[in-house]
Symmetry: none
Subunit: 254 residues, 2 copies
DNA sequence: ATTGACCTTCACGCAACGTAAAGGTTTAAA
DNA sequence: TTTAAACCTTTACGTTGCGTGAAGGTCAAT
């Protein structure tokens, strides 16, 4: 069986550029060149390419691979052992890096004050606009203009510390929800705590609370794919789980 | 305190080339240029350089760092969190790599072929990923997400003995097919046995069997050169032969 | 005045290709 | 039979973060 460059590329899942490059650096030459100057590869080249790709997957550099596949006398095990050491070094280096990054994040989060008033104001403005664009029409239809305006007003009047509280609440809700989801039981204590956090979070946006509205919103989370996508981002099924927890929390379902 | 380029380089432990580069990519410009065209840095630049080097140590790319240090509104914590995720991904990838390298070393040292299970474990993950990348879209379009996910799940849950069975089946299929091909008759007993073996093999990947899907796949073997190349490796025309045998086997053609 | 330590701006090199551009060849359909 | 699509070729620049000259101006000390 003979292959033109594209056939071989397709077969092996690499680009034609890669094959030309391999030809150029003399790691894989075609079996022959036909009368039109086309590269023609045979079965031997297919096998060799597979070897090359195998070593490449192991993360070796092309010049090392070249040594291995071109010189049968070359000791592949030695090369692999060297490579292994390099990888282990790389990993411990990565571990240190991750540790440092996490420390930096922690210390930054601790004193993460959004003292940049403009940023905050801009953010608030955008929040209202986004809310309007995404859900404005249907929410207005459902709850009336006045309620929506009041809600928007509430967001705009939010102080910096309130905003911090909301952010914290929101984070707590998400982590609690993630934990609760693992239990699989929407009536579990954790799940009910999540529902309660959700209510608290909601109260920053709503002027009045009603069980029915809360349960209705929970259903909306499941029905509307935009909400579902948001809640299911980490774990599919989370939106449904939250709805069930809220239905129990509000007593709409035993 | 003012610094020429080398003074600052010494102070910070970087090369002058680095500082010129940072000037060029507009990440750190000198405070001013003196009458002879020399770069002159001030205290502010020293501080900024320290910041830059700090983030660099955390492994961030210069363009991210540029965003962080040049735009005070840019959220460093978000960037760091993104970065952290990338690092974690990198590490698990590295872990898999190390595992594979070690297995390859072990199998090479023992002068034995990598045992099926080990090889299989290392590549199961990749098998699913590759499958997704190569055929995911078209197959998902054809058979729906659920079928594909189930199939992937099936591969991942495959036990060693199942894998051995598959390997044996696959070998038997290939030899039977090669024999049958010699007869040239896709309705021959041997060819029909090959089709049956193919069905059995398929059942390891599919949850439900249907004649239509089986016949459809056979046609795909002919239409898609990646499959064709695989089956025609020994004898060109084998893919077509298999398709015809399957069409007869499934009763889609008398 | 000269030396040597500074400074400047090009500009190539590195790994492993991606991505045009410009032009020849093969294949299939019109 | 013409022609368009789909191949193929070589050439060459871009990618990241600088290292490393080269060619030439500036400054302080001898």
């Amino acid at each position: 069986m003979e292959y033109t460059i594209q056939k071989l590329a397709m077969l092996a899942g690499v680009s034609t550029r890669t094959l030309r490059y391999y030809d150029q650096i003399e790691i894989l030459k075609p079996a022959r060149i036909n009368s039109s100057g086309y590269r023609i590869y045979g079965q031997k080249e297919v096998d060799k390419l597979q070897q090359i790709l195998f070593y490449k997957e192991l993360g070796l550099h092309l010049d090392k691979i070249k040594e291995i596949v071109n010189a049968p006398s070359f000791d592949a095990v030695t090369a692999l052992n060297d490579h292994r050491k390099q990888l282990l070094d790389k990993r411990s280096q990565l571990d240190r890096l991750i540790e440092n990054v996490e420390k930096t994040i922690a210390s930054n989060e601790g004193r993460m004050v959004m003292k940049d008033k403009e940023k905050f104001e801009g953010f608030k403005q955008k929040m209202v606009e986004d809310n309007e664009n995404k859900y404005g029409k249907e929410i207005r239809e459902k709850y009336g203009d006045e309620a929506v305006n009041k809600s928007n007003q509430k967001i705009l009047n939010m102080t910096e510390s309130e905003h911090e509280e909301i952010t914290k609440l929101s984070e707590e809700l998400h982590s609690t929800l993630a934990e609760a989801f693992k239990t699989g039981d929407p009536s579990s204590q954790l799940a009910q705590k999540a529902a309660d956090l959700h209510k608290q979070w909601l109260m920053f946006y709503w002027n009045e609370y009603s069980k029915e509205a809360h349960a209705g919103l929970a259903q909306m989370y499941v029905d509307d794919e935009r909400f579902t996508a948001y809640y299911d981002k980490e774990q599919p099924g989370t939106a449904e789980f939250l709805r069930d927890a809220i239905l129990i929390y509000t007593g709409m379902r035993p």
